[in-house]
């Protein structure tokens, strides 16, 4: 039995999820690959978005994959870190903006 929830080697096996449901698995991978193709946004821009979201989702597989993807595209570590701060800012902003709800509630309940 493996002792940890995450094993880096599992990332290589991602494609295998189709084995238990060929139809949905292939639909997912087809969709996934289309999303990252150059469109109105460049592949480079999409890679940076993916990197930031990988962190807000805190997915270690995605972080590994999109860090390497960024390096392959010549994306610098400064650009990567800036993208992360965008993710972090939205995360903390999203937490804090709920403070308005808290304040509303306090104002409503307090005499």
């Amino acid at each position: 039995m493996q002792k940890t929830y995450y094993d880096p080697a599992d990332l290589k096996k991602f494609g295998k999820i189709s084995e238990w449901n060929e139809e949905l698995g292939s639909k997912f991978f087809e969709y996934y690959n289309s999303v990252f193709k150059e469109g109105a946004l460049s592949e480079r821009e999409k890679s940076l978005i993916a990197l930031a979201v990988s962190h807000t989702e805190q997915c270690p597989y995605c972080i590994d994959a999109y860090t390497k993807d960024g390096l392959q595209r010549g994306i610098t570590k400064e650009e990567m870190m800036e993208a992360l701060h965008v993710g972090a800012a939205i995360k903390s902003g999203a937490t804090l903006v709920h403070g308005v709800q808290m304040m509303n509630k306090v104002n409503k309940l307090e005499m």
Binding site: K12, Q72, R73, G74, T76
Partner: protein, 351 residues
């Protein structure tokens, strides 16, 4: 950053047999990954056969002013292997008669060979269509005696191909050593100044990009766009094409992969990215590599692994197109580097 070659450090990996051992054992022995040979067989592509020789790549010596961390030649100031004028003369005889359309001089830093200028002058008279010199750029600024290289290249209509791992200082200096970025920029400006790399100029200046670490190069066209934009905006530098080249797991790059514990993952990436359509165009099919001492190899990588051509003609003095054409290429697991993704050769991607 190391300042000595693996040879000078008496490293285990200076020995080509040791490198071939590593490439044949471990994950390739226990069946975790298929060997290159079985991968070719799987896709009905074995064996790779040499066609007519179109490109003659001559390594005029392993001496270099730099000691790049990824160097597959294990080049450096401490390497003494230098082509003699006699061997160069033998090469000239072949250049004049082989019918190859491209002559490609490499090293080390080819300019450090004491007979380099004589050789270029003589070879340029042979009427070769494309005469390439692989220059590392910093050599131009390394010593006063090299300052006139741009003019010299221009005079002999040499096609300059230069390495530049990134458009930022940090990434460049990490791979190639401190100060390399600034002096490369200076050298590129000198080349631009005499006409090299300018939009309509016939003086060709191409750049070679190889990744500064254990990852594969991205899309060549996209990287070229980014390089062009950054070098133009930041330094007003221009060049023609960018060749994205995959680092092959041999010599100092292999040493780096092992020391950084990236070897297995890197081999996985190469094997996963295996592209059958790149096999038909790997450079050994139309290139012949000549070492500093005149021996013949399928490519510069096989030269470093000391895997000689599979032919009766083993030395430039025995050059014979008929004997060399159709020979089986000598392969090992490093060949995965040439077939990953869009493929990789000294001319960049191959698909």
């Amino acid at each position: 950053m190391a300042t000595k070659s693996l040879h000078k450090r008496n490293s285990d990996l200076a020995n080509s047999n040791r490198q071939l051992d590593i490439l044949s054992n471990g994950i390739f022995k226990n069946g975790e990954l298929p060997t290159f040979k079985s991968k070719l067989a799987e896709t009905n592509l074995a064996p790779i056969k040499a066609k007519k020789i179109e490109i003659l790549q001559i390594n005029v010596g392993y001496m270099c002013n730099q000691v790049c961390e990824h160097c597959h030649v294990d080049a450096g100031p401490d390497r003494q292997e230098i082509m003699t004028r006699e061997t160069m003369q033998q090469c000239l005889n072949v250049i004049e008669n082989s019918g190859a359309h491209t002559l490609d001089l490499t090293g080390g830093a080819p300019e450090m060979n004491p007979h380099f200028r004589w050789f270029v002058e003589e070879a340029s008279k042979a009427g070769i269509k494309d005469f390439i010199v692989r220059s590392n750029l910093t050599i131009i600024k390394a010593n006063k005696k090299y300052y006139d290289l741009p003019e010299f290249f221009k005079k002999h209509n040499v096609h300059v191909v230069s390495s530049m791992p990134h458009w930022t200082r940090g990434k460049t200096d990490k791979q190639r050593g401190n100060g390399v970025f600034d002096s490369s920029i200076e050298a590129l400006k000198m080349l631009n100044a005499v006409g090299y790399g300018m939009p309509e100029s016939p003086l060709k200046l191409d750049l070679v990009y190889n990744p500064s670490g254990a990852f594969l190069p991205g899309n060549q066209a996209a990287l070229e766009k980014d390089f062009k934009k950054a070098l133009k905006e930041d330094f007003n530098i221009q060049f023609h094409n960018l060749f994205a080249i995959t680092n092959l797991p041999i010599s100092r790059f292999l040493d780096y992969l092992i020391a950084s514990e990236n070897y297995e993952d890197y081999m996985y990436s190469l094997v996963e990215a295996f592209n059958p359509s790149a096999v038909a165009n790997v450079m050994c099919t139309n290139t012949l590599s000549v070492s500093w001492d005149g021996y013949l190899y399928d490519c510069d990588f096989n030269q470093m692994l000391e895997l000689p051509v599979n032919s009766k003609a083993k030395h430039i003095s025995e050059f014979n197109q008929d004997l060399l054409e159709g020979r089986n290429i000598v392969i090992s697991q490093h060949c995965y580097g040439c077939t990953a993704g869009a493929g990789s050769s000294c001319q960049g991607s191959v698909t």
